[in-house]
Amino acid sequence: MVWSTIVLAVRAICRNLMRAFLTILGIVIGVSAVVSMVTLGNGATRAVSDQIARLGSNLLMVNPGQRLGPGRDTAGAPNFKVADATAIETQISGLKAVAPSVSKSITAVHMANNWSTSVTGTNAAYFQISNWQLAAGRVFNETEEKAGKAVCVIGDTVRRELYGRQNPVGDKLRIKQFSCEVVGLLQAKGQGSMGMDQDNTVIMPLRTVQRRLAGNQDVSTLLVSLQDGVSSDKVKNQIEQLMRERRRIAENEDDNFNVLDTRQIAETLSGTTRVMTMLLGAVAAVSLLVGGIGIMNIMLVSVTERTREIGIRLAIGALEREVLFQFLVEAVVLSAFGGFVGIVLATLASVGLARVIQVPYLFNPQINVLAFLFSAAIGVIFGYFPARRAAQLDPIEALRHE
């Protein structure tokens, strides 16, 4: 009986392919929307946390001014000096390294090519703190730092724009009035968490930038990396205490600097992307719901249409439960097929889109199973109950139905 019912169900589906197509269309769209949105959202969350990991973990950034972000208030907040970095390094324990840094926007020139980029003046510890790996050459040494020699390490974007396929290491680069030797090339990091190109950078000894570009002794950011297992909150407090002393801030005054914990940024950013993922998922869930309502409508209409057919089947000796089972099988086959096609489409779409928007593709089994079960449930419920009503009719009444 089971087999013959399945035969009947498949025949009934094949008899009206258009109706079957319309029925599964809603499910296909709904399932693929939910699955691809959530998958891409998860990929984006992963991308953000990866980028933060590349930024360097266990890292504190000390900046002048009260807060970070657009329109930050640096007015009246003096910059740091190299001595501040030295003080942190010597007076606070549990640190791996401290890198004072200052950045300037400049135009770098090589032969006929020029390229707008930013120069960061810092020390050799910066590479380790910021998780930079060398692709070629070396970083500058202490002698070059102290002497403020014109040497630089360039990012991958700068290499591409100025040197093309040539090897930049050992070549010269002109910035403003001085010429500077490229001693090293950084490995590409890609897009940063805020969407900026991290590889568009030129790194030089701090003193070189101060003397030749800035013309002062200022340091704008202190990067502090912590040893593993050291509490960033405790070190953050100590740095705040030390800086208040050094900057002679009175008891009742606010800080005129801020200490930023990258872990906090990481948490904030992944929190944001997670919220975005949920939002996208919610929007897609609405489309799944709308798809479900579509199925519901088509199922209701088709069962009403098929009341006569149910009557014929009952009249030639089908049992009520056989008719019901046939409709159930039809509904399950359609919704399962729709769910399956939806998942396949979603996988294709998310793999493609993940490549376009540069986030990793992460397969999420839960959302696939969930969307599939939801579509199946809708199909079964709305295929089954109207059919049950029809199958409970007296055959003669069902036959009269037009």
């Binding site: 008899r15 089947r313 009249a315 030639i316 000796g317 089908a318 009520e320 055959p395 036959l399």
Partner: protein, 242 residues
Amino acid sequence: MCASHPNDRCAAPLIELTGITKTYGRGASAFQALRGVDLRVDEGEFVAIMGPSGSGKSTVMNILGCLDVPTSGTYEFRGVHVETLSRNQRALLRRHYLGFVFQSYNLLSRTSALENVELPLLYRGEGASTRHTAARAALASVDLQGWEGHTAAELSGGQEQRVAIARAIVTQPTLLLADEPTGNLDTQRSREIMELLTALNRNQGISVVMVTHDPDMAAFARRTVHFVDGRIECADHRREAE
């Protein structure tokens, strides 16, 4: 009380209706379609039921076909009291003993003739090869070889009715019930259908009960029963000449 069965024949009764009434609706709007019908049909008979519209012929057919239940009275099918059977038991009775031919054919649309004819066999749980062989044979017996793959929409009315007859006889039923089988057909097609039914009755021993309002069609039957106003009219036309 007039005799509604051929009491002088010594055949076994296939069907025995006693005091059947059927009331539709309730209270003031109640309509009594059957007001006490007694009818006996023996194995191998060919009975025509005639009567004006609303006389209860179709109602009695539906009760005979187990599609409907009487309000009161008894219905014995080979000694089994059908009125006491459950919905499912009646369905099984239809499946194993009855064949139906409707005025409006009632074929599944968008379904080939072969699949339509196979349908009762599917519900009987026959295997694919048995189904195909039997369905082809049934279609051949109604002279429709070569039309197996055509859907109902691609067939003429007469052909559709012949497919419906093939569907009704493919299970080799004990009783074939035909409700105005020629109602939608012209005289020529009607005659063909009637000849087919007569042949089935004679050659395969299938009992036939047929409702018609056309005396020419009723003339094919061996016995005619007249319905008037929910009752059987006394005149019992036995057809002796065969």
